[in-house]
Amino acid sequence: MKLKLTSMALAGALAGVMAAAPAMAELVFPSLSYRTGPYAANGIPFADGYADYMTLLNERDGGIGEEPVRLLECETGYNTQKGVECYEATKGEGALVYQPLSTGITYQLIPKATADGIPVHSMGYGRTSAANGKVFEWVFNYPANYWDGASIAVKHLLDVNSGDLNGKKIALVYHNSAYGKEPIRTLEELSKKHGFELSLVPVDHPGQEQKSQWLQIRRERPDYVVMWGWGVMNQVAVQEAANIRFPMENFIGVWWSGSETDVLPAGDAANGYKALALANPGGDYAIYEDLDKFVYSTGKAAGAGDQWKTVGYNRGLYAAMLAAEAAKEAQKIHSTKALTPAQMRDGMEALEMTEDRMAGLGMANFGPEFKVTCENHGGSGVGKVAQWDASAKEWKLISDWIESDKDVIQPLIDEDSAAYAAESNITERCN
């Protein structure tokens, strides 16, 4: 009996101590990933990169500002409905920012996350006009958006044509979905400005059969083909382009059509294919030494641990790095380690990525310099052009950062965001 009383007293004292101690808070970052289904080959590298960066922060730095990071991974299968279910299932866990990695899911989450007061970061995808922070308070798409991508591709083509595209034919081969249709309006405006003829060639999901589309391209003989593809559509398009002997150096994909998996199945035939780059490819960065030491060598790598240094993996790393840096900004602004989603949003809106900052993170020249403001949630809107070297099996950068044509894009962003503001009864902010 005496022993029992002593035990109870000890347990009571311990419970008291635990109650008095400050709760160990966590910074929760959901990862809406797709490791299964037809788009898994694209989803896995991104999810691994995102997870490994967060693991690195925990293992090397004890988290962000010494606050541990908790990654909440939820499988969407690139399915919009499942993505929304993931959001609903995880938002109550203190989720700080959602990166849906799907334009369809992003469109669904914009009104929900806005109502719930949780930021969404659709890096290089999603609703383009979300770059207008005056209307989209909770949505960010820095460092570049789809319309920037369309403009960067055209600017590159201007560069290789001594600044003149007048009379040239450009075909847009696109995934027949909300994602694939995003650049059409911009390209139409750019065709008026630069005098090139634009033809539209849609490809239905999933894009396994594209014979009609490439026969059309063979008949119409465009000078250039720009591609807005995803998943198997990319691999088949590259193969079909090679089949009809379309010159690969005249075939350029958006950054979602420019990973190793998009070109490897076509083998040597893919040599010379170009794609835009949101962040640099390859593994020649100091951060990879840390990843090796703290994540890979310790067996804590996400997935099979075989994706690092790929384009998709680097993009996941980059997205996680931007999320972590925004969290640091938020901690600084609000003088607190534990963050709320609203504080995280403030951090995202105050984010400034400079070359010095990236170098300090072991990611020198990894991505572009940009500054987020209340008005501009879209970043600097720049991208590079990379070209596939089939013999070396690697992407090689063939341009520096190319700025998009803001004279064309900004009015489109203003127009689209104003329409959204009107239909959603949103009053512009940042005044």
Partner: protein
């Protein structure tokens, strides 16, 4: 000859070739449905699994390496050898026969005399199991499939048509190979079902299960046999489609291309699968060529089903399907 007519001829030829590719997938469905009345939802995933296994064997990949490494802390990924394509195809067939045996032993045997819808549901479960199993066994990255099949424009046809008509037709070498393989495959299947003991037993089971059982035909043997043949057809389809896009999980979606072919050609006819494939292939390609530009393109996916639906309205059993007679 008017340019548009030449283009239409080229589209028609390519439609025929695409139709053959659809037929290769549809054949697997027909074989199993004919012998057992089961609509095998897993046929597309079987093509994926067969292609994954083929690439894995060719590249000397260690099966379940991710799982093995996670459990034992090892770093094994590859045996370090490369298996020639022909041998790898044979070994893959051994795996597919093993799969057929397992399906019969662990699934079908327990569902004898169940409603067709129950069997259909079982194949849905099988499809998802096989997809996950394939992922676990071989990984989910995209794999290049190279069994030496030629790809790209056939220059001979290009040159001949250019000299004759002033416009060179595009025909993909891979499609020509697929057509030849489909012809051989169908011939072999017809010969097998007409002139071998097992083939006749298979037809007997297809006609009447009870009667076949009463004359001593083993239902288990027939089901293993037919699932093995369907596995072989899946392997052929997986090789053809995988050569185009690489072997990846979206390969299982090629089944969607086979459904309108089955609706049109009938679920029980091998020639129906071929003719249905050709009609769907030509129909969807010509529709896209003629009507597509007027409606914004991307019509093929839905038009194939509309075409099949039209045939269904007038001939519910499909072009070559057995007429359904219910006696009351």
């Amino acid at each position: 000859m008017p340019e548009q007519l030449l283009f239409a001829m080229e589209v028609t030829l390519n439609g025929l070739m695409a139709g053959v590719m659809y037929s290769l997938v549809a054949l697997g469905f027909v074989l199993i449905f004919k012998a057992s009345g089961i609509f095998n939802y897993a046929q597309g995933v079987m093509a994926l699994f067969a292609a994954l296994t083929l690439v894995g064997i060719m590249d000397g990949q260690v099966p379940f390496s991710h799982l093995i490494n996670a459990i034992f802390g090892t770093e094994v990924h590859n045996f370090g050898w490369h298996v020639p394509a022909f041998l790898a195809i044979l070994l893959t067939m051994v795996v597919m026969v093993g799969f057929a045996w397992a399906v019969n032993r662990f699934v079908l045997r327990h569902l004898v005399n169940q409603e067709p819808i129950i069997l259909f549901m079982a194949t849905i479960g099988l499809a998802y199991f096989l997809e996950g199993f394939g992922d676990l066994m071989w990984g989910s990255d995209i794999k290049k499939l190279d069994v030496g099949l030629p790809q790209g424009i056939n220059t001979a046809i290009d040159d001949v048509t250019f000299n004759l008509l002033g416009y060179g037709f595009f025909i993909d070498n891979l499609d020509i190979v697929a057509t030849v393989i489909a012809i051989i495959l169908v011939t072999l299947l017809v010969l097998f079902s007409q002139y071998t003991k097992q083939g006749r037993a298979l037809r007997a089971v297809a006609d009447d299960h009870q009667a076949a059982l009463s004359v001593g035909i083993s239902l288990n043997m027939i089901w293993v046999l037919v699932w093995s043949i369907a596995g072989f057809v899946a392997l052929v389809a997986g090789i053809m489609w995988g050569a185009k896009s690489g072997v990846q999980f979206s390969l299982s979606l090629i089944a969607l291309k086979a459904l309108p072919v089955l609706m049109l050609g009938g679920f029980t006819s091998i020639p129906g699968a071929i003719v249905g494939g050709l009609i769907i292939g030509v129909g969807e390609k010509l529709f896209e060529f003629i009507v597509g530009p007027m409606v914004g393109g991307a019509t093929e996916n839905w038009f194939a089903y509309v075409l099949a639906l039209l045939f269904l309205v007038f001939r519910p059993q499909g072009l070559f399907g057995e007429k359904i007679i219910e006696r009351v």
